[in-house]
């Protein structure tokens, strides 16, 4: 189709002669990234030195050599690996189930016809508006009655599928999966589930990747509910980090070393999933 020959493009405000982004774009992006990264860089500085950096008038620019010493102290002070493992189990499970069930529900709301569809969907969106702070008490009561309090299931089950996930997948699926494809699959005799699995899922892969990243991170950083409901012997990573703050005087370099260590798994997940945010699988399918 219309692949524009490069010599026909104009040099625009944001693109150069060959249609690639120009310096303005890169400049803005770099500025934004620097602003985003600065607090991490600074906390890495403190974690690799000691507390005195906190109070320096202008922070030093280069990291010091103390990081591994602080990291070793983190491992000694708190059950880091166990907490890491717990967080991986919790975040991993929640991410998988949320993405699966949200895609499923999003598919249903976006592409299928059934009675009460709009009402149910609006209900789901409305539940997003409920403030969650008070829910801790009744939720704890519920978990105790079910006998789940203290174990990881108390942290996993309430997050198995979220209203946010359903809402997001439905919005994305509306445009990303053309009706023609679904009709074609129906004519071919596919069941609903096969249509979901073979037609819808591949098309919504970028959205699913984004949802997976968000869900993983939100679960990883969750603090208040795990604090209340998990046993002391079964912490997640954020709870373990909190223990680094004991004592009247907080060793900030130690705490920041711990949080830096805890951010590394998230980075790995990012890098793995980040490449998935590329669409284009189903683009040509309709035309062909």
């Amino acid at each position: 189709m219309a692949v524009v020959p490069q010599f026909l493009r104009r040099t625009g405000t944001t693109t150069n002669r060959i249609g690639r982004p120009n310096f303005l774009v890169y400049g803005l992006l770099i500025a934004f990234i620097l602003g985003s990264i600065f607090p991490f860089y600074w906390s890495g500085l403190v974690a690799s030195r000691d507390n005195s950096v906190l109070t320096d008038h202008l922070p030093p620019l280069l990291p010091g050599g103390n990081f591994f010493h602080n990291a070793a102290r983190v491992f000694d002070t708190v059950p880091f690996w166990k907490a890491l493992g717990n967080s991986l189990i919790v975040a991993g499970t929640v991410t998988l189930t949320t993405v699966l069930f949200s895609s499923l529900a999003g598919f249903a709301f976006a592409k299928l016809r059934f009675r009460g569809k709009n009402g149910l969907f609006v209900f789901i969106v409305v539940t997003l508006a409920v403030p969650t702070q008070l829910g801790i008490i009744p939720l704890f009561i519920a978990m105790s009655k079910l006998g789940w309090a203290g174990g990881l299931q108390a942290v996993i089950v309430p997050n198995l599928v979220t209203a946010f996930g359903v809402f997001w997948m439905r919005q994305y699926t509306v445009d990303a999966v053309p009706y023609e494809l679904i009709e074609a699959a129906r004519v071919d005799g596919c069941s609903m589930f096969r249509i979901f699995w073979n037609v819808c899922l591949p098309a919504v892969r970028p959205a699913a990747a984004v949802l997976a990243m968000f869900t993983f991170m939100t679960s990883w950083n969750d603090f208040l509910w795990p604090l209340i409901v998990l046993d002391a012997g079964n912490p997640t990573i954020q709870l373990a980090l909190e223990k680094l703050q004991s004592g009247y005087y907080v060793d900030y370099s130690l705490v920041l070393a711990g949080t830096t260590l805890a951010t590394i798994p998230i980075l790995i997940v990012f890098l793995l999933l980040g490449r998935q945010i590329v669409a284009g699988i189903m683009q040509g399918a309709v035309k062909g």
């Binding site: 692949v3 524009v4 026909l8 104009r10 625009g12 405000t13 944001t14 249609g19 982004p21 774009v25 992006l29 934004f32 990234i33 985003s36 607090p39 991490f40 906390s43 202008l58 949200s102 499923l104 598919f107 249903a108 299928l112 969106v125 409305v126 997003l128 508006a129 409920v130 702070q133 008070l134 829910g135 008490i137 009744p138 939720l139 519920a142 309430p158 198995l160 209203a163 809402f167 997001w168 919005q171 994305y172 445009d175 990303a176 069941s191 979901f196 970028p206 990747a209 984004v210 991170m217 950083n221 603090f223 705490v255 920041l256 949080t259 980075l267 980040g274 945010i277 669409a279 284009g280």
Partner: protein, 330 residues
């Protein structure tokens, strides 16, 4: 003929001569179409029934009582909690703070997020790196955030004030005044959430067929024109999503103001409640003043407030994204 129809009455296509088997398959197929949607949306409602419904009903129930934590025999007072709430200065103060921070944060945030997504949608080098980079703030642990931001905004020894002084400007007591504190908190919120929203918009942008963009280029439309007339209208479902979730999130802001307070762990929202949001006031009423009934009333009023404002934003977004796409991109 009638006999054949009697033999295979379920055959919707009415194809004569078929045995009962395809009839079953047809029936299953129709059940599949009719009932599978309910099956697919069921997981959410099952989980919700266990972990969402009960807290909701509990909170509604408790709000009708004078219920202090640890009370074994709370007294029923009907809607008194609600009437007391509407006469409560601190509540209205928190509403004002919430709206102010919301406007300062969500407005710029959405605009920047969309622009960021547009830039990331281009043919950049090292795409994944940029995407990871903008989402990085969301990965920060809350424990680290409180240390980092209290050090940035500290009135006497904070980094931002040191830089301001270095530039010859006045130091600002970020935590003292109402407006400075709102700016600072809005900055914290935007720092944390802009990349998040940008990625959502980016994912949707990636789904827009490149052919539409290319056709627009052939027709001579510049980048900005293309963006307004081609991209934005096609982003409408996502924009609606971002606006609604940002509205809800923005009105429920809790973590950032709590971490910003000079006194660690305080739910006060500043020495004169200058940045106490509604959720902070809710939390304070429940866990500091132990007034569970009152806190539940606050929760429900906030819920209604959010619904109203989200609805307004939704209608506005729907209208805006409509008119911009009304004209053809040529």
């Amino acid at each position: 003929m009638t006999t054949i129809e009697k033999i295979a009455p379920e055959s919707a296509a009415g194809r004569p001569g078929k045995s009962a088997r395809p009839a079953l398959r047809d029936r299953l197929s129709r059940w599949d179409v009719k009932y599978s949607p309910y099956l697919y949306v069921a997981p959410f409602f099952i989980v919700f029934a266990i972990v969402g419904m009960f807290p909701l009903l509990y909170t509604a129930y408790v709000s009708l009582f004078h219920w202090k934590i640890g009370d074994d025999d709370p007294s029923f007072i009907g809607l008194d909690n609600y009437t007391a709430l509407f006469a409560d200065d601190q509540f209205w103060n928190s509403v004002l703070n919430t709206l102010s921070i919301f406007v300062l944060s969500s407005g710029p945030q959405i605009v920047i997020a969309v622009l960021l997504a547009a830039m990331l949608n281009m043919r950049l080098r090292g795409r994944t790196g940029w995407r990871v980079g903008i989402l990085l703030p969301y990965a920060a642990s809350l424990v680290a955030l409180s240390i980092i931001f209290s050090n940035l905004f500290g009135p006497q020894f904070g980094l931002i004030n040191n830089v301001l002084e270095g530039l010859g400007l006045d130091r600002v007591d970020w935590q003292a005044g109402r407006l400075p504190s709102h700016f600072a908190i809005a900055l914290m919120v935007n720092w944390r959430w802009t990349g998040y929203n940008a990625l959502i918009v980016l994912a949707a942008m990636q789904a827009i067929p490149k052919e539409l963009q290319e056709a627009a280029i052939v027709d001579g439309a510049g980048a900005i024109r293309r963006f307004v007339s081609v991209t934005l209208p096609l982003l409408r479902p996502t924009l609606i999503f971002v606006v609604i979730t940002s509205t809800i999130g923005g009105l429920q802001i809790f973590t950032e103001p709590k971490l910003f307070d000079a006194q660690p762990g305080s739910n006060n929202g500043g020495s004169t409640n200058q940045f106490q949001t509604v959720t902070l006031y809710l939390y304070q009423s429940a866990f500091e003043n132990f007034n569970l009934g009152y806190a539940s009333a606050i929760a429900w009023v906030l819920f209604l407030l959010i619904i109203v404002i989200a609805l307004v934003n939704f209608l506005v977004t729907r209208r805006l994204a409509q008119t911009s796409g009304g004209k053809k991109w040529l």
